[in-house]
Amino acid sequence: MSEKTLTRMDLSEAVFREVGLSRNESAQLVESVLGHMSDALVRGESVKISSFGTFSVRSKAARVGRNPKTGQEVPILPRRVLTFRPSHLMKDRVADGNKA
């Protein structure tokens, strides 16, 4: 595997090529997509993007954890975590694209 990393810069470049807005505005729009998604998730909403996947927020109960190095018990407070469930289409495309 080549293992390159796509960043915000690549996304704004793609938007710039696709829509023909300025590079600066393209970057702001990419930020705005991520920002609106984050805001919805922080409000506790799921974000469902058809043919991509679903981001949902789950609440986890408090539990007693342990520092694996010292063996000391530490309380883990109740918290909210984000999970991403890829759509079937994405799973198929990722599986097909990475076939040996």
């Binding site: 595997m1 080549s2 293992e3 390159k4 990393t5 796509l6 960043t7 915000r8 690549d10 996304l11 793609a14 938007v15 696709e18 829509v19 807005l21 393209s26 729009l29 990419v30 705005s32 997509v33 991520l34 609106h36 998604m37 984050s38 919805a40 998730l41 922080v42 909403e45 799921s46 974000v47 469902k48 993007i49 058809s50 043919s51 991509f52 996947g53 981001f55 927020v57 918290r79 909210r80 975590v81 984000l82 999970t83 991403f84 890829p86 994405m90 799973k91 495309r93 990722v94 599986a95 097909d96 694209g97 990475n98 076939k99 040996a100």
Partner: protein, 93 residues
């Protein structure tokens, strides 16, 4: 929130853009991320999270109904890890 609501919010913020351009912008973002993973690349969006591809080894599975064993080939699956900033925001930090 679904894709069309996301498009609407961005359209509302940017009244100078055509709705269909906003749709193309949103679609491009998700399409680029999917294409990166289909190539075996990562997509790292600081503050939001990182998409990567994980390899699942071949294994002998079992049909839970009949108990018959089935060979499951090696495969690659999409994986998402939440970014630190978003994780903290979810917990009111």
């Amino acid at each position: 929130m679904i894709r069309s609501e996301l498009v609407q919010k961005i359209a509302d913020d940017n009244p100078h853009l055509y709705q269909r351009d906003v749709e193309r912008i949103v679609n491009t973002v998700f399409e680029e991320i999917t294409e990166a993973m289909a190539r075996g690349d990562r997509a790292e969006l600081r503050g939001f999270g990182a998409f990567s591809v994980k390899k699942r080894d071949a294994r002998t599975g079992r049909n839970p109904r009949t108990g018959a064993s089935v060979q499951v080939d090696e495969k690659h699956v999409p994986f998402f890890k939440t970014g630190k900033l978003l994780r903290d925001r979810l917990n009111g930090k």
